[in-house]
């Protein structure tokens, strides 16, 4: 048991799987001597050598496709995209090949590949380094979309993803790398798919993930302290597969649903959760489904401007208060 920062947990998971399985490779820009721009591969090249910790040229489409080739041959590459925004350069290889090759080949090939990328804001990197793109990947059959919110999940979800036989889009919250920390029990064992209740409550079910989860908990705590609603905050962990059972169990208790995420609200995955609830949990709902996502503008680099765009704690509180008052 050790207390690790989120970035350290990622690194520890990589080291553990590299140790456990010689077929695990790390590839990406600056993952070698530099150790990753967010330190998530620090010193791994010294430990595992340049044959397994592989610096790539700045050719996202090329090296992601290359890693699909390695994966289809039985290696387990873990590819780092320096900022999730850069993954857009590799979408052809991910969506047209990696996600589909098992289907297209009728099971002759599978792709045990993890594509890690720091997503979201919170680090003042501006419009082309701060987007939340998970909803794009959740649309694609063949992919898994993992989004850890805690250090323990960064560790275990990454280990689970590396052991997974299908391609995983693993989106780390760059805003959590050095701010979020927690106990990581390396003897615990795989956690599997499924959401978890991050903060129990009785009045409103708040579905969130990744960096926004912490803002939801902060807002819930503030509301509770002020005598407001008791919010149950659910950490989805995976956008796909979507664990609706955990949400349904919570809704049976609270009868109110809010979905809060960092991607742009329009066409964001929150709409999928809301549509599912409207269609299958109608009898449980005592109010409208509240949605809150980023406004439909690019992400500005200054913190006070960014917080005007992505859900701030204040806007989350206001959304939940309104829903409680319905």
């Amino acid at each position: 048991m050790a207390e690790l920062k989120y970035a350290e947990a990622v690194r520890a998971a990589l080291a553990a799987e590299m140790q456990a399985d010689e077929d695990v490779l790390i590839m990406g820009e600056e993952v070698g001597a530099l150790g990753g721009v967010f330190t998530t591969t620090k010193d791994l090249i010294e430990q595992f050598g340049p044959e397994r910790v592989i610096d790539t040229p700045i050719s996202e489409s090329g090296f992601v496709g290359w890693s699909i080739g390695l994966a289809a041959e039985g290696f387990r590459p873990v590819v780092e995209i320096m900022f999730s925004d850069f993954v857009l350069l590799a979408l052809d290889q991910i969506i047209n090949l990696g996600a589909k090759v098992r289907f297209m080949s009728n099971g002759q090939f599978n792709v045990p590949l993890v594509i890690r990328m720091p997503g979201g804001g919170g680090t003042n990197h501006g419009p082309q380094h701060s987007q939340s793109l998970e909803s794009i990947f959740a649309q694609v059959p063949g992919l898994i979309v993992a989004m850890p919110a805690t250090a323990a999940d960064a560790y275990w979800m990454l280990r689970d993803s590396i052991r997974c036989d299908d391609p995983v889009i693993f989106i780390e919250s760059k805003g959590l790398y050095f701010r979020e920390k927690g106990e990581v029990d390396e003897s615990e064992g795989p956690r599997g798919f499924g959401a978890r209740v991050a903060r129990p409550g009785t009045d409103i079910t708040v579905v969130s993930a990744a960096r926004m989860l912490h803002r939801c908990i902060e807002a819930a705590d503030a509301l509770a302290a002020a005598g407001g609603p008791s919010c149950e905050v659910i950490d989805l962990r995976y956008i796909w597969p979507l664990d609706t059972d955990t949400i349904a169990a919570s809704l049976a208790k609270t009868n109110k649903l809010a979905v809060i995420h960092e991607p742009v609200e329009f066409s964001g995955w929150g709409g999928e959760v809301a549509a599912w609830a409207a269609a299958s949990q109608f009898e449980q709902l005592d109010g409208p489904i509240a949605r809150l996502g980023a406004r439909r503008v690019p992400i500005p680099f200054q913190p006070h401007l960014e917080d005007e765009v992505v859900p701030s704690v204040a806007r989350i509180e206001a959304t939940l208060s309104d829903l409680h008052g319905y």
Binding site: G62, G65, R102, M104, N106, F109
Partner: protein, 341 residues
Amino acid sequence: MSRAAEGRAGAGGAAATIDVDQALSLYRQMVLIRGVEVEIETLHKRGRMTGSFHSSMGQEACAAGVCAALRQSDIVTSNHRGHGHAVAKGIPIEGIFAELFGRSTGVSGGRGGSMHLHHRESGFLGENAIVAGGLPWAGGAAWARKKRGLTDVGVAFIGDGGFAQGVTHEVLLMARYWEAPLVIVCENNGLAHSMASERLFGEPGSITRIVEATGVRSEFVDGRDVIAVAETAAAMVEHARTVGPAFIECQVFRVKPHSLSDPDYRYREKDAGQAWLETHDPILALRRRLGEDQGEALDRIDAEVAEEVAAASAAAEAAPQTPVEAALENVYLTAELNKNG
């Protein structure tokens, strides 16, 4: 040994020669590819096949010549015009026909069709319907073999259109950087759909020179001459096996329109394909070079292949259609994820 195939110097000065048996084998491959393509076109025209179809007629010498240099364990990725590569790499043609007929006996279970032939057993990783999309797969897979201590090479077939894709440039650089055992074969058929490649790259051979500038060994070869292709490919595959990546620009000609529904008379002379075939057909060229004394053997090959194609096509068509449940299968290997929304 015929005069034609005797004593040729291989590309790069290697002393590769093609003997008469090898020449007959190349002839058989070309005739087989031609037979498969003609049969598919006929079936489409009779309404017995659906889906898209990009004929490789006229380009047979490239597929046959390059794949003759490969072992079964070597790997190939191809593109939307990939039937010839699939045949030459050794996919049983009944499995190809069955895939195009949409039968569960098809090499991809009858769900991918013409542009999605995959056959791991024969080293044919797959076609790819995105131009140059299969290139990085070949690079990564070939490099994987090298990392495992094997001596297999990867061959990626692209077209002149594929040379315009950014990922081609990326893979060239990565292959050089990592000394991957990869041969990129660029079939320059002069047309990227309707765009003349001479306007984009310059005269044939220009692509070769662009690649040379990257430091990757690069050769230009006349794709009408299957012997020349086979010799060049042998040298380049050997280079990839022992040194590092290589590139072949193979000048070919697209006899048919881009696809079945393509009105190519809008951008080139009507019947340009037929006219070319009459004067430059690589199959007839080899026939002439092998000479009269091989006439009987060649006729026998023609007859055998015609029979083989007819039998494979009929058997493929007779197989049951892919069942509807198959549309939902093999998305994930992780069993609990096959929920299919």
